[in-house]
C-alpha cells in the first residue's frame, strides 16, 4: 500500500473518517503509508472553520472508553464519546472531557531531561543520548536487575514490555494504579477464583436489575468503569418500560453513589459480610428447605446488632431476595478494603446465588476478555507492591523504568516508596507530566500525551462485547516528546543481541500492527478486511475492534452453596476513636489534580473546589467544638495530616472521611502544594487477597486552632441555616 496508493485513493477507501484524517495531519509514523503530494489542494484540516474528528481512546483511567476528538487546524478542541464504542456509547465522564487540559497543560515535560534526584531544575538532553541511556541501562545490567513499573493504561506498552521480558529475562512488568488499590481489584478477582474456580472480572448487569444492593461499590464515581455503570444505573431507574428499580447502598459515609440510593444504610464498618450472610440466610429461610452450608453458621440477630441495622430491615431485604427476580448484590470499594475484605467479597457474591441471578438479566457475569487477551490479568495488589518496593530498597534492582503511574504519590506512606528508590542506581521515568516520581528520577524521557499517542487499551469490564479500544494521535506532538514504545524499540536495537531480537520492529506502529493483525482472522468482529492496511485504517477510523455478539460468560456456581463462608471480625489498626474512610475524589481521581477545570469542579457531595477536606458528622463536630473550616490534625499510626473540617451530614458519627486526589508536592502549578494526600495516613495492613486494608484504620483528631476557608459552591446558608437568623 505504501507505493501504489495515492492519497486520494486512500481517502476513497477509508471514507472521510478518523483514520485518514490522522494520516493527513502528518502525526508521526502513520504518514509513511501515504505518498506525500504537494499541496495542490490544501489538506482538510487547514480549511478555515472545518473541523476534523478522530477516534481514539481515553487514558484518564483504565476503563478504555472510546473518544472522538474534534480538531480544528491541528488543534484538539473538544473530546466527545465515540458513539460506536461498545463501552461508553458516545458518553464521557468529567475526566474524559478535561483530558484536553492535560494535553495543553502549561506544565508538561517538554524535552528529555536529566536531573539530580529531587531537584526541580534539570538539564535537557537530546533524544539520541536518551535512547543511548536506555540502551546502556538494558545492556549493562543483569536482566534480573532491570524492572518496569507501568500504569494501568497503555495496554500496548504493557504487551511490548511483557514481550521484552519474556525473551530477555528481565523482570516481568509490574502494573499499578491508585484506582485499582481503592477498587480492591485483587480481592474481587480472588473471591471469584475461590467461588467459581476461575479468575476474572465480574460484570454486574445493573441495567437489567430491579433492585441493587451495593456493599460499598461506588460505581457512579470511579469504580471499574464509571461511564458504563452510570448507563447501567440509568437503566435500573428507567421507569417508562418497566418498574423503577431500587438501589440500596451499605457504607459508613454517603458517597455520591449512595446519594442516589433509595436507602443508604450506614452500617458499622467491617460488618458487611455479616449483613450479606444474614440477608442470605433470612431469604433462604423464607423460601423453606434445608439451609446450605454457606449460610448455616450465621446468626441474623447478632449480625443485626453488630452491624447496627434493624432486624426488620434485614428481613425486608431478605424478602426481596427470596421473592423477586432481578435482585443484584455488588461488593466493592471500602467494603473490600478491610482486613476481612475477601470474606466480604465472597459473602456478597454468594448472596447473588440466593437471588439466582448468575447469567441472567440483572445478574452477575464474567466480563468478556478482550480480543487479544488469553487470560484475565489484574494490576498488582498493594501487597505485591510492598514486595516490589522491598526489592528496590534492598538494591536488587539496578534500573527502574516508570511509565503511567506515580507511585511516590499513590502508594501508602507506610511502604516508603520514595525512600526505596534510594536503593536503585538508575531511575528512568517516561512521565508526560512533572509528577512526584519524575522528580525522584535521574532521567525523564517524556512520552506523548495520550491524544498524541498510538496504542490500544483492552476493555476489562463494563461492556457485553469483547472489545479492544484503539488509540491514534489526534494532533501532532506539541513538544519534543517521544513515544515510550518507540524509545524502547530503538534502545533495544541499539543494545543488540537478544534485546534487538525481542523487539524486531521499525517503530511503535509496526509493533501495534503485529498485535492487531491476529484479529483479522477472528470471526464475529463488527468489521473485517482482507489486508492489514485496510484493517488498520478501519481500526483507526472506528476507534478499535470489537465483537458484535454478547460474549460475557456465566460463572460456574455448582459448588457455591457448599463452601463454608466465614465472617471474621475486621481489625482496625491504630489508636483513636474514629474509623478512617479514605475515598477517591469522584472528579479528580488519581491523576486529575493538574487539570484546572477538574480542580474547579465542585465535589458532587460537598461542593468543595480546589482543596481537600475532612468530613465529620455535624454532631461529632459539635461535641469536639469544631466548626466548618477549622483545621484539624488527623493522626494515624503511619502519619499525620492537617486539613480543614467539612461538617458532613451523611457520615457515621464515629467515622471521618478524606478524599484522595490532592496533596501533590509536584505535578505542575495547579496541583502542587494544594490540599492533602490521605495516603500519607495509610499503613501497611492487608486483606487475605493482598489488597490494602485502607478502610481498616482508626485515627485521632487534634485541634490546631487555625482556620482555612474552603472554597465551595453551595452557600453556607443553604446547608446549616447560617445567616438565617434575625435578618431573614
Amino acid at each position: 500500500m505504501t507505493d501504489n496508493f495515492s492519497r486520494r485513493d486512500f481517502l476513497k477507501l477509508a471514507g472521510v473518517g478518523a483514520a485518514t484524517s490522522a494520516i493527513l495531519t502528518g502525526c508521526g509514523p502513520a504518514s509513511r503509508y501515504v505518498k506525500r503530494e504537494p499541496y495542490m489542494e490544501m489538506p482538510e484540516y487547514t480549511y478555515n472553520g472545518l473541523s476534523t474528528y478522530y477516534a481514539t481512546t481515553c487514558r484518564e483511567c483504565a476503563a478504555g472508553c472510546g473518544l472522538v476528538v474534534r480538531t480544528s487546524q491541528g488543534r484538539a478542541i473538544k473530546t466527545e464519546g465515540n458513539a460506536n464504542h461498545p463501552l461508553n456509547l458516545g458518553k464521557t465522564c468529567a475526566r474524559g472531557q478535561a483530558t484536553l487540559h492535560g494535553l495543553y497543560n502549561p506544565d508538561r515535560v517538554t524535552d528529555p531531561i536529566q536531573r539530580k534526584r529531587g531537584n526541580a531544575s534539570a538539564t535537557a538532553v537530546d533524544w539520541d543520548s536518551a535512547t543511548q541511556t536506555v540502551a546502556d541501562a538494558l545492556k549493562n545490567n543483569k536482566p534480573s536487575e532491570i524492572a518496569f513499573l507501568l500504569g494501568t493504561t497503555s495496554d500496548h506498552l504493557f504487551d511490548l514490555v511483557a514481550d521484552l521480558s519474556a525473551q530477555t529475562g528481565i523482570n516481568p512488568p509490574v502494573r499499578f494504579g491508585a484506582l485499582s488499590m481503592f477498587e480492591s481489584r485483587a480481592t474481587l478477582a480472588k473471591a471469584a477464583e475461590n467461588l467459581f474456580g476461575e479468575s476474572g472480572m465480574p460484570f454486574f448487569d445493573l441495567g437489567g436489575a430491579q433492585a441493587v444492593f451495593s456493599f460499598g461499590a461506588n460505581f457512579l464515581e470511579t469504580w471499574l468503569s464509571p461511564v458504563s455503570y452510570t448507563r447501567g444505573f440509568a437503566g435500573l431507574r428507567e421507569a417508562l418500560t418497566k418498574k423503577r428499580g431500587t438501589l440500596v447502598q451499605f457504607e459508613s459515609r454517603m458517597s455520591s453513589t449512595a446519594g442516589k440510593a433509595d436507602e443508604w444504610i450506614p452500617l458499622v464498618p467491617g460488618t458487611e459480610a455479616l449483613v450479606a450472610l444474614a440477608i442470605g440466610r433470612l431469604a433462604l429461610e423464607l423460601r423453606g428447605g434445608p439451609l446450605p452450608r454457606a449460610f448455616s453458621d450465621i446468626d441474623p440477630k447478632s449480625a443485626a446488632s453488630k452491624s447496627g441495622i434493624k432486624l426488620e430491615t434485614l428481613e425486608r431485604y431478605a424478602e426481596m431476595f427470596a421473592n423477586s427476580a432481578g435482585v443484584l448484590a455488588i461488593p466493592g470499594g471500602a467494603a473490600l478494603g478491610q482486613t476481612n475484605g475477601l470474606a466480604v467479597a465472597e459473602a456478597v457474591l454468594t448472596l447473588n446465588a440466593v437471588a439466582d441471578n448468575f447469567g441472567k438479566p440483572g445478574g452477575v457475569f464474567f466480563s468478556p476478555l478482550a480480543p487479544n487477551q488469553a487470560m484475565y490479568q489484574r494490576s498488582a495488589s498493594v501487597k505485591e507492591m510492598q514486595d516490589f518496593t522491598k526489592k528496590l530498597a534492598d538494591g536488587k534492582i539496578k534500573v527502574l523504568f516508570v511509565h503511567g503511574v506515580n507511585p511516590v504519590f499513590e502508594l501508602p506512606a507506610a511502604l516508603e516508596f520514595k525512600k526505596a528508590l534510594e536503593g536503585v542506581e538508575q531511575v528512568i521515568s517516561f512521565s508526560t507530566f512533572p509528577d512526584e516520581t519524575a522528580l525522584e528520577s535521574d532521567y525523564v524521557f517524556p512520552d506523548h500525551h495520550s491524544l498524541e499517542s498510538w496504542g490500544y487499551q483492552r476493555v476489562a469490564t463494563g461492556s457485553n462485547q469483547s472489545a479492544l479500544s484503539g488509540s491514534q494521535p489526534v494532533v501532532s506532538p506539541f513538544y519534543n516528546t517521544r513515544a515510550t514504545a518507540d524509545v524502547l524499540i530503538a534502545a533495544a536495537q541499539l543494545a543488540g543481541g537478544k534485546f534487538a531480537a525481542a523487539l524486531p520492529f521499525k517503530d511503535e506502529v509496526e509493533f501495534l500492527q503485529s498485535k492487531i493483525a491476529p484479529l483479522m482472522s477472528q470471526s464475529g468482529g463488527f468489521f473485517s478486511a482482507a489486508d492489514l492496511p485496510t484493517f488498520m485504517a478501519y481500526f483507526q477510523q472506528y476507534g478499535g475492534w470489537w465483537q458484535t455478539a454478547d460474549s460475557r460468560t456465566v460463572p460456574n456456581t455448582a459448588d457455591i452453596f457448599n463452601r463454608s463462608l466465614k465472617a471474621p471480625e475486621a481489625e482496625f489498626a491504630g489508636e483513636g476513636e474514629f474509623f478512617f474512610m479514605p475515598f477517591v475524589s469522584p472528579t479528580l481521581a488519581e491523576a486529575g489534580a493538574n487539570k484546572p477545570w477538574l480542580q474547579e469542579l465542585p465535589d458532587p457531595t460537598t461542593t468543595v473546589m480546589w482543596n481537600t477536606w475532612v468530613e465529620i458528622n455535624p454532631e461529632t463536630a459539635h461535641e469536639l467544638g469544631l466548626e466548618d473550616d477549622d483545621v484539624v490534625k488527623i493522626i494515624s499510626e503511619a502519619g499525620e495530616l492537617e486539613l480543614p473540617v467539612y461538617r458532613y451530614p451523611a457520615i457515621r458519627p464515629d467515622t471521618i472521611a478524606i478524599p484522595f486526589g490532592q496533596g501533590h508536592t509536584a505535578y505542575g502549578r495547579y496541583a502542587e502544594g494544594r490540599g492533602a494526600n490521605p495516603t500519607d495516613l495509610l499503613g501497611g495492613h492487608f486483606n487475605e487477597a493482598g489488597d490494602l486494608a485502607f478502610a481498616g484504620m482508626k485515627v485521632k483528631i487534634e485541634k490546631t486552632g487555625r482556620k482555612q476557608p474552603l472554597s465551595r459552591l453551595e452557600s453556607l446558608m443553604g446547608v446549616y441555616g447560617v445567616g438565617l437568623g434575625e435578618e431573614h
Binding site: 488543534r75 484538539a76 468529567a94 495543553y104 431507574r237 417508562l240 446519594g259 484546572p596 477545570w597 480546589w610
Partner: protein, 242 residues
Amino acid sequence: MIRPEEIKMSAEETGKWGMVMDQDICTGCQACVVACAMENNITFVGEEDSGYGRSMHWIRIERFWEGEYPEVKMTPNQPMLCQQCGSATCEPVCPAFATVHSQAEQLNLQVYNRCVGTRYCANNCPYQVRSFNWRDYERPEPLSNQFNPDVTVRRRGVMEKCTFCIQRIHKAQDKAKSEGREVVDGEFTTACAQACPASAITFGRVDDPESLVSQLAKKRGHGIKHLEELGTLPNVTYFKGG
C-alpha cells in the same frame, strides 16, 4: 404580578428549543460542567475567587440535604442552567440591550460586545445562572490552543451565561439549509447533553410534538418548571422521579 396564563406567546414564535432534565438518574458526576466549559471557552477562576462565588459555571449541579443523620437524604441532583425563559426577567433590565430575546431561536441572548457590566441582569435572574467576569482570568499558554473557534472568548467586565450551545444550533441549521432540508431531531445536541453518561439531559425542539424532548415530557408526566409562578416561562423541564 403577572400571572403565567396572562403571558401568551405570539403566533410567530415557533422554533423553541428546550431541555428535559431527569433528576432521578442525574448522578451529579459533573461531566456536563466540564463539557460545557470546554465547548464554550469558559474560564476557571482559581480557589480564592471561586470561594467568593465568582466561578463561571454555566451549568451547576445543585444538591440539598433533607433530614438529619441517620435519616438524612440527598435531594435529587438538580442541574441548574439558564432556563431560556420565554418571558425573561433579565431582559428588560439591561440598559445596553446586551441581554435580548432572539426571535429566531427563542433564546435569551447575551451580546458580549454590548455588555457594559452593570450586572442588573444577574441581579434580576431568579435562577442565579449568570456569571460575571470579575477579572481577566489568567489562562497560561498553551491552554488557549483548546479554545473553540466557534465561541467568543470573554474578558473582564462582561456577563455570560448558558446559550443552549447556540453555535451548535447554527451549525446544524446551516448544514440543513445547505442540504435543502429541515434540522432533524437528534441531529445535534448541546455539549452537556452529549457528555451526560446517564443521558439525564435531553435537548431538542419543544414545539415539535414528535421530538424526543416532547415525547419524554409527555410520557414521564409530572414535570416541573422551576419558579414558574414568577411567570418566566422557562424552557427547561425537570423530572424529580423516585
